[in-house]
């Protein structure tokens, strides 16, 4: 056939197109967001060096300050812990939007237990237990009784949102608890004196626990059979079931782990300050929901979730600095920047690879 070579060429180019297209679909938006962020930061730092007195100067000062990193880390702890918990639950096929509630209940319980026992770490454990119990309730309702996961998740949030300040009111006569002892920070000599990165070496123990949890979660998903079962349970539970692994048990385990992790985040949040404040949205103030955004942006990867948490927390730390500096923009506007960025990020990333069976109940046949 005379036109065979032309056919070949056509198809080859088409193959390349198809490949690059799927490549674009998979990576570009996420890479683009990351790239733009890095470029903007570099541009800002350069501008700040050239014009120290301008707005760019103020901003780059804020960005490079050790305090900014320190407060960003502090802020990421509850968000990133909750995000890790959310990853476990959702990868197994259970969407846990009750993370906010888990944070609230553990933040309060940690303070209460610390207050009555006098031990900060006992308080921490108390927070974790409380959050795990609430997660267990969520698991029974959604896995055992097959309730709608979104509604049950909202219920978890609302229960905690009502229960924690109420308990505080009953016990302490105010939605805010009295102050208890806080955790001491761990300081590595010499390294802690480094500019900027020094903040990494003089931080609360919860920061180091977070690092360990991020690595641990990554390891579980990438290297252990249990992590693989969690993935299979969220992607194609039937495949897991026919392979002889109980989907129900895997999902219970995953949701309980999400309770433990969110509990660590909540306890760390309140024990860092030594107090639980229960007014309005409580001291948790949407961190559980930001956590959901963080793990979606991190595409269910624990490390990705950690870095997207840091992006948000970094922005929040910078906006706090800017509020104090007074740069002529109304505070209220500055305060919302992290949230605006989150919305933009989500809109840009759009296509997150949701686990195929997330949100669906699984019934074993016969």
């Amino acid at each position: 056939m005379s036109d065979t070579p032309t056919d070949r060429d056509d198809t080859d180019t088409a193959t390349e197109n198809a490949d690059s297209e799927s490549f674009f679909e998979r990576y570009t938006t996420r890479a683009l967001v990351a790239g733009v962020t890095v470029a903007a930061v570099i541009a800002l730092l350069l501008a700040g060096m050239l014009f120290p007195d301008s707005l760019a100067g103020t901003l780059s000062d804020a960005l490079t300050s050790r305090n900014t990193l320190a407060s960003a880390l502090r802020l990421s702890v509850p968000i990133a812990f909750a995000a890790l918990g959310g990853i476990f639950a959702e990868k197994s096929g259970v969407i846990n939007i009750g993370l906010e509630g888990l944070l609230i209940i553990s933040a309060f319980s940690a303070i209460y237990v610390a207050d009555i026992t006098g031990g900060v770490w006992i308080g921490f454990a108390g927070g974790v237990v409380a959050s795990t119990l609430l997660a267990a309730l969520f698991a029974v309702v959604t896995i055992g009784f097959r309730a709608d996961q979104i509604i049950a998740g909202l219920a978890v949030w609302l229960i905690a949102l009502g229960l924690a300040p109420f308990a505080s009111q009953v016990i302490y006569g105010s939605p805010n608890t009295p102050t208890v002892a806080t955790t001491n920070s761990i300081t590595v000599p010499v390294l802690a004196d480094l500019p900027f990165f020094g903040a990494l070496f003089s931080a609360s123990p919860s920061v180091y626990m977070l690092f360990a949890a991020v690595f641990g979660s990554w390891y579980v998903f990438e290297r252990t059979a249990f992590g693989r079962w969690i993935r299979a349970s969220g992607e194609n539970p039937k495949a897991l079931d026919t392979a002889g692994v109980s989907v129900t048990r895997v999902r219970y385990a995953a949701v309980l782990i999400s309770g433990v992790l969110a509990g660590m985040g909540g306890a760390a949040l309140s024990l860092d300050l030594g107090q639980f404040t229960g007014n309005g949205p409580t001291m948790v103030n949407g961190k559980g929901f930001i956590a959901i955004v963080a793990y979606l942006f991190g595409n269910y990867n624990p490390v990705g979730a950690f870095f997207s948490t840091m992006l948000f927390a970094g922005l929040d730390a910078v906006q706090t600095v800017l509020q104090l500096q007074g740069i002529g923009i109304p505070r209220q506007l500055i305060r919302i920047t992290p949230f605006v960025v989150v919305i933009i990020v989500l809109a840009l990333v759009g296509r997150t690879q949701l686990p195929e069976a997330a949100g669906e109940h699984y019934e074993t046949e016969d």
Binding site: M1, S2, T4, D7, R8, T11, T13, A14, T15, N17, A18, E21, R223, T224, A225, R228, W229, R231, A232, E235, N236, K238, A239, L240, T242, A243, G244, V245, Q353, E356, E365, D366
Partner: protein
Amino acid sequence: MATAVHLDGITKRFPGVVANDDVDLEVERGTVHALLGENGAGKTTLMNVLYGLYEPTSGEVRLGGEPHVFGSPRDAIDAGIGMIHQHFMLVDPMTVTENITLGNEPRKWGGIAIDRTEAREAVVELADRYGFDIDPDARIEDVSVGEQQRVEILKALYRGADTLILDEPTAVLTPQEVDELFDVLDELTDQGKTIIFITHKLGEAMRAADEISVLRDGKKVGTVDADATTQEELAELMVGREVLLDVDHGTAETGAVVAAVSDVVVENDRGVRAVNDVSFEVRGGEVFGIAGVDGNGQSELVEAVTGLRNPDAGEIRFGGEDVTTASRRQRIDAGMAYVPEDRQERGLVMEFDLVENGLLGSQHGDELVSNGRIDWSKTRGHAEAIIDEYDVRPPDADSDAESLSGGNQQKFIVGREFERDPELVVASHPTRGVDVGSIEFIHERLLELRQQGVAILLVSSKLEEVQGLSDRLAVVYEGEFIDVVDPDETTEEELGLLMAGERPGDDDGEGGTKATGSESADETERDKPADPTDAADGERA
């Protein structure tokens, strides 16, 4: 030879139904045994009993002479039975190795971590032993359906299966992949594995199996030697009466042009031209067939005609009007019926019952709806009429579409569309996955419509079907009509060559085969052999 599997008087009752009635089955070790029967004959139920998914009401399962009672698939797996379901049980984003070892991962470091090297080696070793060509690191979502099936087989072998049950394994495969599967089955039986192969396709049962057992209405009606039987005999056993495998389509008066497609170009979802400058006309009282290997633009063309996809160039006229950009609703109102190729995706709402599904497409008409309100009693009557006329089983209008078997879903859709009183029927693979008795019935109804002067556009990858039914037959290859032929004047071999992209008058056979062999971008499974025996569904005598 020893008996590997022995089912003794298996009866399985469900409330109100006897799915298996005193079935005896003996399968020799190292052979392929086909379990043949129409949809709903009880083949899958019987195998689910063997696989431990169902406990039999009475009867006994013996493996190698030993009686076994299976409480769950886990027990069956431990006893060396593996089942490859029609819908694969694979986790798409995971790799081949991860899927094969799922649930039985080799461990290291005291069981904490997966030993990934060992897992990979085990898979490679297993694949080599049975001559499977498979990339252990590829993700399931990136490999073809045929490879996914081989992964399923490997998964069963990895778990130590000696007896493999394959449920309708060819339903999702291209003809070439079917060949490959049969090679794999040969290799497996050579190495002493036993295969039970569930199918409703006579030709495949004869090609692949050593022995064939036929089930009808839950009873075993016979076991025959595959070499000593004919398709006619099998068909009769299956259906319980004589079946006409060859359709005599007679002649009908052709009327005016009902639909005309001119110079139509359609791009697929990836922006690749799937249909390239195609023109044809369909007249009343005529079946215009489109033959071709799946993925050569048939789907896109049908979508353009039915209004599901806008053509990028060209014109489509229907009943004298330009409908190129007309909506689906306008086309339905104008009398265009459509039997979609994917019945579960486009033909039915799986969670709806048959009453509601029967309404679909008529919700804007005035027959079942008055003043914007659905007349449910009429709608129910409509659905029941379809069920009755088209022999949909079980005959219960309240059952959900998803509870029906594939063949019965298809009969219901065909019934709904044919009863619309259409001017034009666009039938895309109308008998895909349908048993032999129903195929005959659907073909008869199509020809009846033709006799009434309805225009029919028939797309099918079953060569026998398009050739037998069409008055004129177009062969499509890479989005273009290679030729339009008179099917009665053309041999299957000639059609096969056309389907492989060899233009008429081009006598260089080599070139044609080469062109088919080249990878195409938008459809990796497109390259199929030119051999017409593969393209046809194998239901030929």
